[in-house]
Symmetry: D2
Subunit: 216 residues, 4 copies
């Protein structure tokens, strides 16, 4: 999604964020960041990637400062579709910290999650690559094991469990299993009515959170 259609979804997410008092991260194309930042109030806009570069040379690379200036508050790093070398990942987290972008780093196994935790990103997405886009969720055991492994290295890191979320029930299960957050791309994009599915998922988060942590 991009452009006008993305704007429409972003506005629905913005409203759901207020309605259920849940923080929602949206990860648009870089060229959509400015418009979405201007037209929404509560959404957390994350870029899909930054390159570990400084202002100056770098035609065709994504400059952290430019992403920040356009209104993003954070960035995804090491997504399975944009994997990074260890050296670049380490430097990109450092650059994001300097610029003031929240870092959300993808890990596709328990060991990768632990290794990434050592670099102290703000959020780790624990999503086994082989499940992306399949509609199959990580089992409860994987959710618990990755969450506790990450927290053991650094309890400040938020854990987002993302694999195979396709409806409100999946969202509910994952939060009940101890995840701080969850997420999906294909689950919303493939839904007949993406805005309705978004509402269902956000409502499920609120419900599961209340049951687990109380009404805070």
């Amino acid at each position: 999604m991009y452009g006008e259609r993305m704007l429409q979804l972003a506005k629905a997410a913005d409203e759901a964020s207020v309605k259920y008092d849940v923080r929602i991260i949206l990860t648009p194309q870089p060229s959509d960041l400015y418009l979405l930042a201007k037209e929404t109030e509560n959404l957390l806009l994350f870029a899909q990637h930054i390159d570990p570069i400084e202002p100056g040379r770098g035609n065709g690379w994504i400059l952290p400062e430019a992403i920040k200036a356009a209104g993003a508050v954070g960035v995804i790093l090491n997504h399975a579709e944009k994997p990074m070398t260890l050296a670049d990942l380490s430097l990109a987290i450092k650059r994001a910290d300097e610029v003031g972008l929240v870092t959300m780093v993808c890990a596709d196994s328990l060991k990768e999650a632990e290794a990434i935790a050592l670099f102290a990103p703000n959020i780790i997405v624990a999503e086994p690559t082989e499940l992306i886009g399949t509609g199959k969720t990580s089992d409860e055991e994987y959710v618990i094991a990755t969450t506790s492994a990450i927290k053991r290295v650094n309890p400040e890191i938020q854990v987002l469990q993302a694999a195979g979320i396709t409806n409100g029930q999946d969202v509910y299960n994952v939060i009940k299993a101890g995840a701080d957050a969850t997420g999906t791309t294909s689950g919303i994009m493939k839904a007949v009515d993406p805005e309705a599915m978004l509402d269902e998922m956000i409502r499920a988060i609120r419900l599961a959170w209340n049951e687990t942590h109380g009404d805070a």
Copy 2:
């Protein structure tokens, strides 16, 4: 340059474009495209890169449709800092044509320029990689040789000669040697007063063009 500073330069370029009746291409970060498109009228905004992908998967890649929706009219491909494989370049030109983005492809040698011309982009940038950012210009012989080699393959292709342009005189020389256009990044970024340098360069284009082609 990015954000507010880029907007200021873009506005100056927008005015110079009208003042001298010269078409100006600006190539900002993708996250700056929307704002610059909204705040300028005559500038031609080109993205720094697109990936040869379709809407759907591709987190962290640059989607041609999103670039177009944000207000870009064209795209740079195969810049020396973002070199592309032959297969990707061929496909990216095709995708840009489908979406309606003007293609401007960089070539760093005479033979590369000829080879790229076979893929029928709209513009070829003939800029020997070893001169980028050095302040040394391509000599007149290189300008003439690349221009005529490209036109021989496909006379519709515009030729932009870019290496080492640092002031109005360089701009004047290159247009007099037969280039359809010229360009610079470092020449403006490193100038003490980028807006003044921009004005000087655009004025030189108009002057050289009038002397070569008459007052059209």
Copy 3:
């Protein structure tokens, strides 16, 4: 294939080369080049890739000089599984020429074949990527069109037509359609008896060649 199994196939190819008086190119892993060069006499051993580097730094890259020293006489460049940027391809052909390695460059479309011909490699492999490993051959029209386009740019370049060759009949057809050479990987690797299939294919080349060019 690699190691002992590759050596066995190489010896069979070596014999078939003499038996039918046909030149055979084999493209093993770099680590197999030395042994195969020592144990065969008539085979033309080509490396699967070289990087466009000079002796010195480059841990993990393939040095042209080392490939040559191990006994290779040529190298494949720009294979669909190892695509190269235009700049690297241009430089790799230059380095191979310096070192004395025959260059065989893959092109996956008519336009790519023409573009690559401008860089004057010794051989162009015209193999539409979408057919690799499928068992579907390029149609006669494609064979004729690519062969003549390449020869028009540079008549010295040999054209190898490779897509979807699975048996002797495919080989025969391609040579009859005007190709200088043909090739296959999966056609031999997937055969029940690779050595027998190799013999069948080489015999078919000799037959088609004799019918087309006479008994030379």
Copy 4:
């Protein structure tokens, strides 16, 4: 170095290995592995890289099985000149374990060394990238900090300290500071007499080791 010159150095290293009873790892081009394995007895030959692939497709990639068949006993991964994504590194270590190749993984910071240790390679090379080829050694503090961080994660991992080793004294210092091993490429390649420098370095290892660990 490659070919005949590499063979000569390898033979000198082979003799030094026996003379001082020190295990020596040599990391030649893949095309030199077979010859060196046949012509030496005590050297440990490591490939410069493997790709995390299975036998089958992968033209131009380095197949772990082929490297092993040519006589290598191990492999370098994630060298600063061939950096790997976290996912590929994890998979390459797994493939090397399956095939029976010792893994030696490069880390260019303390945090990277710790993260890599979680993937349980056999050896970690702790070499700050900014010092490679400079002739400046890691200070004693860095050597001690990385060694103890790695051993805390997994005491089985051997630690090789490599930055800026240019002579026997550097080698001595690093082993005395607690490293299990050390290494250099440029230190030997740039020496006036590489074979003599090799002998000096190996002698220094034996001396430092005896002083630290006794005569074992």
